[in-house]
């Protein structure tokens, strides 16, 4: 019985079977070769032993197609070790042998299936717990370093502190000013639409002042800074970790936390109240513009109403929240940077994670403040 094909041909007899290979067996033709071998296998059924491979007509063969050939033979019940070869060129025979020797290591196992939904949820929860525990641990370490610096203020890296302050505060002013100005504008506009219906235009000032100073400005500024400086901390420290700069600092007998983390945390804690103040002023300015254009409240009237309506405590509460937000953003950012592992991918992952964690932390803290201040009747 004989089956023919351009690539391979089979001759079966009582004393065994011969597979004749011909033409070009290359990776680029794998799909065609696969089809030819399948056709051969389907036509032949089980090959009678002994099996001989004849490479007289073969022009080219590479390891990928050799692997395909051996696997097809094994699939039709022929053990590769029992096959003898003839008529192959030296190079071709060597490639066939090389692949044959490696067959035991080639199982073609598909990749392990992805984890089930429950397992994924479980792993995520365990990961979150580990993360929070790690944050707590790191927070403690940073506090210890702060205590050391407080005992000997000469240890504070003032140069690094000012460099960080310039980056997180001074260069953040334009974006903070722009965003809070627009927020003030929008809030005044929306309140104005409602207040106008009752002829209560002037009360827009009360609403805007209270809302901005107490909630919007601290929250919005903190979210901007979480995305801007928190992410920057992670990326900076993560890159330093990857290039072993942090290890170098440690081997010089210095504390990486003292050199890198304390100035960053301190700079952010000092910066955020200032930025919130900028936000307060710009938000009021935005509201003032809308009040004049849409609600017929001249700036002078706006300011004098502001004096009556805005109790200083609201303004102070807004500013007082800022350092707490800053502390969390900075510690999360630094810790995620220090937790970067030895591959480039983890810098990106940790940076993303820092932004998400920073924003969630800010909103959680803000809610906590709201409940607390309510209970204190402030």
């Amino acid at each position: 019985m004989t089956s023919t094909d351009a690539d391979c041909r089979l001759e079966q007899g009582a004393d065994g079977s011969v597979v004749y290979l011909a033409g070009v067996w290359r990776l680029s033709r794998l799909a065609e070769l696969d089809a030819s071998l399948r056709a051969l296998g389907a036509a032949a059924g089980r090959l009678p032993a002994p099996v001989v491979l004849d490479g007289g007509g073969l022009r080219e063969i590479d390891t990928a197609s050799a692997l395909l050939l051996w696997r097809s033979l094994e699939a039709s019940g022929v053990a590769a070790g029992t096959v003898s070869t003839r008529g192959f060129g030296d190079a071709h025979a060597r490639i066939l042998e090389l692949v044959r020797q490696r067959l035991p290591q080639v199982q073609g196992r598909p990749a392990a299936p992805a984890r089930g939904l429950v397992a994924q949820v479980g792993a995520a929860c365990a990961g979150l717990l580990g993360l929070l525990y790690g944050h707590l641990d790191y927070f403690g370490r940073v506090l210890t370093e702060f205590a050391r610096v407080a005992l000997r203020p000469a240890r504070l890296r003032t140069k690094e502190l000012f460099a960080q302050f310039s980056q997180v505060c001074v260069s953040a002013i334009p974006v903070v000013a722009l965003v809070t100005f627009l927020i003030g504008l929008v809030v005044a506009y929306l309140l104005g639409l409602q207040a106008e219906q009752y002829g209560a235009n002037i009360f827009v000032v009360d609403g805007v002042a209270l809302g901005l100073a107490r909630e919007f400005s601290p929250l919005i500024v903190a979210v901007i800074i979480a995305g801007r400086s928190g992410a920057a901390f992670t990326a900076q420290l993560g890159t330093m970790k990857l290039t072993e700069e942090i290890d170098a600092i440690r081997t010089l007998g210095l504390s990486a936390e003292q050199v890198l983390v304390v100035p960053r945390v301190l700079a952010l804690v000092l910066s955020l109240p200032l930025l919130v103040f900028v936000g307060d002023v710009m938000g009021m300015l935005g509201a003032m513009v809308i009040a004049q254009q849409k609600l017929d409240i001249p700036p002078a009237a706006f300011v004098s109403r502001l004096h009556e309506a805005l109790a200083p405590r609201h303004f102070v509460i807004g500013l007082a929240k800022a350092p707490v937000f800053a502390l969390f953003i900075a510690v999360i950012g630094c810790r995620m940077g220090m937790a970067v592992s030895r591959d480039t991918r983890s810098i990106g992952m940790n940076t993303t994670s820092t932004v998400v964690q920073g924003i969630v932390a800010v909103i959680l803290l803000d809610a906590l403040f709201a409940v607390l201040l309510q209970a204190l009747e402030l």
Partner: protein, 275 residues
């Protein structure tokens, strides 16, 4: 690696017409970075199935030359032909087709850190297309095994690998599509001597058994001694020596003398041992 029963001595020609046209042809390549001249007329021809080591002092432009051959960096002048086509006048489609026929191993492996080792090796196969999906897993394992990695390494992430395994994984990825030419930048740098020699043996067997042309940029004298059939020395912007190791060591050049002086004795000892 055990020698196959049918393996014969001599170099492997892969397919008809082997050895006719050179695989790599560099003519009068000049490279300048600002006022700094790196290459001032480099000429080099490498034939099919050769295993060539490219050496030279720091800043002699070895890695730059490599990047110019594989089409990553344009030389300021001259011609680079790879597998018969001009790299720097080829269209984007031609260059892509050309790159499918070569494999490159970068110094630190340059594995994709978001993928497992198996994913890294699969990437070029998926891009190439035409490989049956069911067969791909088996082909990946063959590549890992050819690079000397256990099958279990396929599920690991690059960050979990040691330096030696990382380089092996990079070789497995470079071999994915059966390249005709393999370029390696400092393959043994940062490896311990035992791992480095095993790596040399791997490269020699790829060249001998599969007929792959191999160009290695290296500083490793042991690599030169054990596997390089031909050594090309770059210096002063040109090729200052080219030939088998014995000929290169005899060239009268201060850099070459300094480079080999420490090893002359050892080399002499080894050759007398082998005789």
């Amino acid at each position: 690696m055990s020698a196959s029963a049918t393996a014969a001595a001599g170099r492997v020609g892969s397919g008809p017409g082997s050895g006719a046209a050179p695989v790599i042809e560099i003519e009068a390549v000049r490279t300048r970075f600002g006022s700094q001249v790196v290459h001032d007329g480099v000429d080099l021809r490498i034939g099919r199935g050769e295993l060539v080591a490219l050496i030279g002092g720091s800043g002699s432009g070895k890695s730059v030359l490599l990047r110019e051959i594989i089409g990553l960096q344009r030389p300021s002048g001259g011609r680079v032909r790879l597998l018969g086509s001009d790299v720097w006048s080829a269209s984007a489609a031609q260059l892509t087709a050309l790159r499918r026929r070569i494999g490159v191993m970068f110094q630190d492996g340059a594995l994709f850190s978001s993928l497992t080792v198996a994913g890294n090796v699969t990437t070029p196969m998926i891009e190439h297309g035409g490989i049956p999906r069911a067969f791909m897993a088996a082909l990946v394992e063959l590549r890992l095994s050819m690079a000397g990695l256990p099958g279990s390494a396929g599920a690991m992430r690059p960050s979990e690998l040691s330096g030696g395994m990382r380089k092996r994984a990079a070789i497995a990825r470079a071999l994915a599509l059966e390249p005709e030419v393999l370029f390696l930048d400092e393959p043994t740098a940062g490896l311990d001597p035992i791992t480095a020699r095993a790596f040399d043996a791997l490269l020699a067997s790829l060249c001998r058994d599969l007929g792959i042309t191999v160009l290695i940029v290296t500083h490793d004298l042991d690599t030169l001694l054990s596997i390089a059939q031909r050594v090309v020395v770059l210096g002063k912007g040109r090729v200052i020596a080219d030939g088998p190791l014995a000929e290169v060591t005899a060239v009268d050049d201060p850099w070459i003398r300094a480079y080999f002086s420490g090893r002359r004795m050892l080399a002499a000892e080894e050759s007398s041992d082998g005789a």
